[in-house]
Symmetry: C2
Subunit: 390 residues, 2 copies
């Protein structure tokens, strides 16, 4: 049973008697996703909804949806209704820079890019360079540092293959000329009580971190402001970020805009099996700028669901659900369901041994990272095409 910090001061949406918590600034314990869906008031993505999404996407469904990694949503059927009526949506997602970007950070951008391809969607990417500067004092980040990190993140994101014509990226401090006015409009509908309950902030929280969620809300309706008519918005995000929009959706509706639809993903586990890969635990995290040697070394230390010896593993088999290597294939590195099934089967039946298993994954990761580095070097002088300022 994992220890969960005291949150009695907070009207948490995850009840206090649970052994896990999912907050915007920390995820603790072993997350019970089925339980979480009920507590957050979101809906699971049903088979029927999957089929509808697949049909709208031209008969394709991203493996992260097929595999239940994107597992919950808000208002997705409404978004598809709008789409079917010819009312196209745009996609909004983002990342708060705090250090090297990890492969887990790619989940929402991978989904955003898929949505762009399948639904011809414009994509708006927020890099809130003030967020962790304000809310994570213990990190000792300066705004100069988060600014540099933001530009590293932007290049990493662009290099996933976004269409520069339809994808715009901005940092909050550089796009504040546009953002602040709209954040002010949002902020008028959010009291400190709401923020206290939603984020667990208290009287000792700084007033920048208290205001911040207003800035995160803006891109969810900004295209409607700019185009002078209501345009649906879809946000793919890790479910820990849902709280920002639980707060903002009401405010956005009061301003007369559509509430954004949301698709929620589970957390990619860390290499040691912790339920959420964290950029602050470097040994159990794959960074996009890890060297091939570092990847091999880290993957070699990854937890597997296997028995203690090769002999026992051949005899008894292992548990792919507890095996970080299997999970990395599932979350990111094996898009082919049939091949993934073979890997899981090998793990389960004991025919796949740890050494070989890890060697294969390290190779897949390194070949992904190497191609990504190559795309980055081609794009690095073209980032002006992506960046918004104003």
């Amino acid at each position: 049973m994992s220890k969960v910090t005291d949150r009695s001061h907070q009207i948490s949406v995850v009840p206090l008697d649970k052994n896990y918590n999912v907050g915007a600034y920390s995820v603790e314990g072993s997350v019970d996703y089925e339980d979480l869906v009920k507590n957050f008031g979101v809906l699971p993505i049903s088979k029927e909804l999957e089929d509808r999404l697949s049909a709208a996407a031209g008969g394709d469904l991203h493996f992260m949806i097929r595999r239940g990694i994107y597992f919950a949503h808000r208002d997705l059927p409404w978004l598809l209704d709008q789409y079917e009526k010819g009312n196209k949506f745009y996609v909004y997602t983002g990342i708060a820079p705090s250090g090297g970007m990890t492969i887990a950070h790619l989940m929402s951008f991978t989904m955003a890019q898929w949505l762009q391809e399948k639904f011809d969607a414009e994509v708006l990417i927020q890099i809130p360079d003030e967020e962790k500067f304000l809310a994570r004092k213990e990190m000792g980040l300066t705004l100069e540092r988060t600014h540099d990190l933001a530009y590293e993140d932007a290049l990493n994101i662009a290099a996933l293959g976004f269409d520069p014509q339809k994808t715009k990226i901005f940092t909050d401090t550089e796009y504040a000329g546009v953002m602040y006015k709209q954040a002010v409009r949002v902020s008028k509908h959010i009291t400190f009580s709401i923020i206290k309950d939603a984020f667990g902030f208290g009287n000792d929280s700084n007033i920048g971190s208290i205001f911040y969620t207003s800035m995160q809300a803006v891109p969810a309706f900004l295209k409607s402001v700019q185009k002078g008519k209501n345009i649906p918005c879809l946000i793919p995000l890790g479910i820990d970020q849902d709280v920002h929009f639980r707060v903002a959706r009401n405010a956005i509706e009061k301003l007369g805009y559509y509430k954004p639809a949301i698709m929620h993903s589970k957390f990619m586990p860390s290499l040691n099996g912790s339920p959420k890969m964290s950029s602050s635990d470097p040994n159990n995290t794959i960074y996009l700028d890890d060297s091939p040697e570092a990847v091999v070394k880290k993957v070699n230390k990854a937890i597997t669901g296997q028995q203690s010896t090769a002999e026992l593993q051949r005899k008894l088999g292992g548990d792919p659900e507890k095996c970080a290597v299997c999970q990395y294939y599932k979350y990111m590195f094996e898009p082919d369901d049939a091949k993934l099934a073979m890997i899981f089967e090998g793990e389960r039946k004991g025919t796949l041994l740890a050494g070989e298993h890890k060697k294969d994954l390290a190779q897949k990761i390194n070949s992904f990272l190497s191609a990504h580095r190559e795309r980055k070097s081609k794009l690095k002088d073209r980032m002006d095409e992506f960046m918004l300022k104003g």
Copy 2:
């Protein structure tokens, strides 16, 4: 004895047993300025300091300083030390748009312009178009309305005769591209506890109004940021605004900039003798766009310190301290001390009767407003020279 609203939830700098209060969002009761100086921890402007200021200004002293209307300060001797060392200061002041601008609003701009003239100072003027939108819900202001009002205010200010080469005006929403990043830096050093105590905000306050003071802090060090070296700043303001800087000065110092010096003015009384002219009491307030007839009508209803009949007044005389007409001469419309002394003397001795007294003042006000309107009409197509965006 004036009634003062409950402020027991607030660690007010004006103790709870006083019969007045001076807060950023309301002034109540009959302000005891001598007592206020002690409670706010500011210093009175001494005769010695007046002399020093006059010497630095080339042997001149604005009548508002001579007459104790600007009566208190923070760090003014330090500012003059810097000035004498060749380290010139700039001037920062502003106005939160909420409705028509009144003559009382001119006090800080009049002082700013005098400082520009005498000290060759650059002037930076903030028009926080979000402030009252956020903090004064009952006013029902939209951001579109405050934006329009901001531009009216900017023209009214520029027409006082500021040098367009050395005077820049901006609205917060339009200059947020520059302002927000610096406000974020300030906000990290201000907790909700501080804001609660300083402004009397509570859990039901919106998060925009909680953040706002960070924006008001920025112009006090912005030139230092922009020029890459520490430049002294002097802020002339009504003493009700001191609280913003009581909070911000510590934060600004933590960021490594000079704390701004401040000159505090008393409040211009309203025509009915209330201690502070308020734009929300139109009958007792002179607006810059009042017609000549409206001015005559309002001044005719002004309170005087005179006896109930002309006969009694001739016999007993009146009290210029209680006479709004005398006070308007003192605060704004009679810069000549000898002439002002004659007016006060006439009131005191009963030789000056109400009708004549009021007629003269109405004429002075109307001739000021007429000249001001003329300067406005000449400037109205040249406001781009003053306005900052970014």
